[in-house]
């Protein structure tokens, strides 16, 4: 399988566009810091996008309100990925976004006012549902027809990319904008605190001393096109999506299985779809949230697949924070950047390997690397595991 990726866009804690993100990655500059924008007490470490809602509104130029921060972030990233592309009645264009919170950033303010009988603004609830988040982005970009939203917790973004590829493979669409977006909310911050997996220090993926995640926010989109669409657009192929898979762990509502079953199946199947062998993978952008459970289970899965020959791997969550439904899309853009530029990103905040597995991630930025294929993992609540394989364009 092979689907062309011809455009990328991203907004995260480390930058408001692709160039800014790349600069931060090259300079090991994390975007995680104390809360600046979210209306939440406490001294938590978060990966916020460094822009207020007002600034985002004027940046993306939306006129109608209300609009959620989730839509604003998504729109900024989708605009960049869409670029100067033109609409054409001869091309079936779709959009698939992923979100876990939808308009919760607005709803939680409404609900506080509702509980306090403080004149709650019911109008903001129009942007609560996740589907609306995507409809707003589609409307601004002039896309109609196939407009869809996936919500599978932390694997959502990867699943949106996978679904887009399948729709193109089966000829249902000629081009599709795929990605994910999630704003930081009190809801999710308090949620991960209640699970006791929120680290009050910097998250330390794949480190023995890891004790939880730091949440982030952001969005990323990729434009995928078939040959007919590329003939029309003339777009250059950045790289290809060659493999994808989703599997259920069916072990526990939140925890991953100790034998990494679902993760192993997702990785194995994605590599199989790509037609490559495990040895062909040059770099793995791991899910690596920094929780005890995920990183151990993912490490076990990597050993299951790669044995003693585990490729270079790292988690980029210490840069961006865990951006939930956007994570798979943000890390897909990083995967594209790795292939385009021959670079591998460092796993920040690492010092000691996990005792049970001994896997050591890449800790320094690497350039001039022959990066031909990248595996990107996204694993979520409910045992929802997805893996994608990105490869250099050989056609």
């Amino acid at each position: 399988m092979s689907v062309r990726i011809t455009g990328i866009g991203i907004v995260s804690a480390i930058g408001l566009n692709v160039a800014e993100n790349l600069f931060s990655l090259k300079n090991s500059k994390s975007g995680i810091g104390r809360i600046q924008y979210l209306d939440q007490n406490g001294d938590y470490l978060v990966g916020e996008v460094k822009s207020s809602n007002q600034e985002l509104v004027s940046r993306v130029g939306v006129k109608s309100q209300p609009i959620s921060r989730t839509s604003l972030l998504g729109l900024a990233a989708a605009r960049e990925a869409w670029g100067e592309n033109k609409h054409s009645s001869g091309l079936r264009t779709g959009i698939i976004s992923a979100t876990s919170v939808g308009g919760m950033d607005q709803t939680e303010h409404f609900y506080r006012d509702f509980l306090d009988h403080n004149n709650p603004d019911f109008q903001v609830l129009k942007c609560h549902d996740s589907g609306n988040t995507t409809e707003r982005i589609a409307a601004e970009l002039g896309i109609s027809g196939y407009i869809n939203t996936l919500s599978t917790a932390c694997s959502s973004g990867a699943n949106a990319i996978m679904l887009g590829a399948r729709l193109i493979e089966q000829g249902r669409l000629d081009r599709v904008l795929v990605g994910g977006t999630d704003a930081l909310t009190q809801f999710t911050l308090n949620g991960f605190r209640s699970l006791m997996i929120y680290d009050d220090q910097w998250c330390r993926p794949f480190d023995e001393s890891r004790s939880g995640l730091n949440l982030g926010e952001g969005a990323a989109f990729l434009l995928m096109e078939n040959d007919k669409s590329v003939d029309f657009s003339g777009n250059k192929t950045l790289c290809c999506l060659t493999g994808w898979a989703n599997a259920a762990d069916a072990y526990h509502q939140t925890a991953s299985s100790p034998d990494g079953k679902g993760a192993t199946m997702a990785i194995q199947n994605a590599i199989q779809v790509s037609g490559l062998s495990a040895l062909d993978i040059s770099y793995i952008n791991a899910h690596g949230t920094g929780t005890k459970n995920n990183d151990l289970s993912e490490s076990v899965a990597l050993l299951n697949i790669f044995g003693d020959n585990c490729p270079d791997f790292s988690s980029t969550k210490p840069f961006t924070g865990h951006t939930l439904a956007a994570a798979g899309a943000i890390e897909a853009v990083f995967s594209v950047l790795a292939i385009q530029n021959g670079i591998i990103f460092p796993n920040l905040n690492y010092s000691e390997a996990i005792t049970e597995t001994g896997l050591v991630p890449i800790t320094e930025f690497q350039s001039d690397q022959p990066v031909t294929s990248v595996l990107s993992n996204s694993f979520g609540f409910g045992g929802n595991n997805s893996s994608l394989v990105f490869s250099v364009n050989n056609s």
Binding site: S194, L195, M196, H252, Q253, T254, A255
Partner: protein, 85 residues
């Protein structure tokens, strides 16, 4: 101590939605997290940590400490007594 255990069982049934159980169904030494006992899981463990703070003012900061303390009603009651002493 017996009234503490009775209390504890009531709170556990309520907090964990153990709709089918009554206080008399839970033996003091039944293993809470064993399938042969009450069959609780790791989500329940977190709920028990919340329960300890809510009703007994005890903060279980280390989940591993909870694992030992939450073996049975007996061990939970002992833990509460010790923390209160």
């Amino acid at each position: 101590m017996d009234s503490l255990k009775e209390d504890l069982k009531k709170h556990i049934i309520e907090q964990l939605n153990l709709e089918d159980l009554t206080v008399s169904d839970i033996d003091d030494d039944a293993l809470l997290f064993s399938a042969d006992g009450i069959g609780l899981d790791s989500i329940d463990a977190l709920e028990l940590i919340v329960l300890m703070e809510k009703y007994y003012g005890i903060q279980v900061t280390n989940p591993d400490e909870g694992k030992v303390a939450f073996l049975s009603i007996n061990t939970m009651a002992d833990y509460i007594e010790k923390k209160r002493a």
